[in-house]
Symmetry: C2
Subunit: 313 residues, 2 copies
């Protein structure tokens, strides 16, 4: 989920500290096995409908999820593995909503888990912050890269896009891995194509861990059409981002998720340990940096604990 | 040395293939132990004088080398380890010159080697391409980062800068290393400071290996003052690049080169193997991509072989 800077979030959320915003919850649901409490919505039917996303983002996400379902559906548990109160939750003042949907892979498959989700937060300015995410992790039976997509829209004219196939190995000690997945596949052409647009600038994640975990062909960009005379943000999402995201997902499905590779026992142990760090650290750095500001520390801790539990099963 | 794209080099060198430019060498010197031949200058006294660099780059490089010498001189062999014909060489038409100066660390020190050098190439347009470099590698008795500086000036108003402390470990499996050397030290502020200038844009190395080997706080930028009303390239080198390069070298000398860390035997083996890849791959990707175009394949091969021999001693 969103790796956005504290400063950036504070800029949008401006004033009210979580304690005040959460001081009078309307209803509370306990996290199983903990004393933490969280306000919970019953809108579980809207889990993956992306009700707050802009039309082209919603269209893109539904297409991507449909593709994942067509290709990997039979390899996944049919329902979300997360406790129901995480499938849709909100803060006490109804200014922030979120939905997380996690489907674990069946033991026979190479899929560890697919996590989709969104966060919506009303901004004091009258606008909204919308974060949309899809990540897919493989098991240690393969060393193929994980998939990561994140769209962070903070105004009608600007967007941060993170799109990558995250490497599973140290690329310095494994130059064949770099060649196989990133050089020979010409994945960098996607980034080049997008960064050729005048509205697109590189984005530096405030987290050095995120900069380290991504691949050398990762797309991390800010798109700003505020002063653009030629294209709207919707046109860029539809005409530029969507084809690239679909291409990359298609490549990941064909060449990573559904392509078996020989991995011996020692390599499996290495991959499992590296993945353990990646999954836990990504939650910690990513959701851990934004959820407390949006939902308060108590809800954030509950979400993070439950996610970590699912991740480390 | 310079990791620049083939397209970029071809843009400047335009037409004449190396075979034609090297068809009538004026003098030839054999590489020891090989049948390769290279045209060689006697200007060994000018080794590290950077005769072709612009005044502010020359000033910066001499200051950096003097600092290295003051701090590490007693830990290094007093003279260059490279064969004399590599200390200054040129192509047959005298349009391209280069100088490499390599000082190995004494066995008792943590310094593996310091490599300084420059390449100068006259461009058909009348201008010149000047590459200036300083890299410093540590031995496996420490896991502290290596130092890397490269300045590629291809016109009086533009420059590519690569400045980094290259990590020695996979930062995902070693989060404490990331925290210790890159997060707690706030190294990213240097990059932020430089990229705040309107003349500065991110630079993407055409080599994915180079993008993978650098740290998350690496400075890879293009500086272009062509349309700038406010600053000349010389002012940016003196006022912005030089202080940052000196700061980073100072940090590297104090906290990496001269700071002992406990490294056990298994870790030493890991560092030695990773460094072996880094050193050989960096030569191959970096010099191997530019030298053949500037000096012809024969000279390039000779330089690369001799450097690899010194690197792997």
């Amino acid at each position: 989920m969103a790796v956005i800077s504290k400063k950036w979030l504070e800029h949008f959320l401006v004033v009210t500290p979580p304690k005040v915003r959460f001081s009078s919850p309307r209803s509370k649901v306990r996290f199983p096995g903990s004393r933490r409490k969280v306000h919970c919505s019953s809108a579980s039917s809207k889990l993956m409908e992306f009700p707050y996303a802009s039309a082209p983002i919603k269209k893109l996400m539904l297409e991507l999820l449909s593709t994942v379902d067509d290709k990997l559906g039979s390899s996944l548990h049919p329902t979300s593995t997360l406790p129901s109160h995480l499938q849709h939750f909100a803060n006490s003042t109804d200014t922030a909503h979120a939905s997380l949907h996690l489907r674990s892979g069946l033991p026979s498959s190479q899929i560890d888990l697919i996590l989709g989700g969104w966060i919506h937060c009303k901004l004091p300015s009258g606008g909204a912050l919308n974060i949309t995410t899809l990540s897919a992790y493989l098991t240690s039976s393969t060393d193929a890269p994980h998939f990561l997509l994140e769209l962070i829209q903070n105004s009608p004219t600007s967007l941060v896009l993170i799109l990558d196939l995250m490497p599973r190995k140290d690329l310095i000690l494994h130059p064949k891995y770099l060649k196989n997945y990133y050089e020979d596949t010409h994945l960098d052409t996607h980034r080049q194509r997008l960064q050729a647009l005048p509205e697109v600038r590189p984005y530096y994640s405030p987290s050095l861990y995120i900069r380290a975990v991504i691949s050398p062909t990762a797309i991390l960009v800010t798109i700003d059409t505020g002063a653009s005379q030629s294209k709207s943000i919707e046109q860029i999402i539809e005409g530029d981002i969507s084809p690239i995201a679909k291409d990359l997902l298609h490549f990941w499905l064909e060449s990573c998720a559904c392509s078996a590779r020989e991995v011996d026992a020692s390599e499996r142990a290495y991959l499992a340990e590296r993945d353990r760090v990646i999954k836990n650290k990504t939650i910690e750095v990513d959701l851990g940096s934004s959820l407390p500001r949006l939902f308060g520390q108590e809800i954030a801790d509950g979400v993070l604990d439950a996610l970590k539990e699912c991740y480390n099963k």
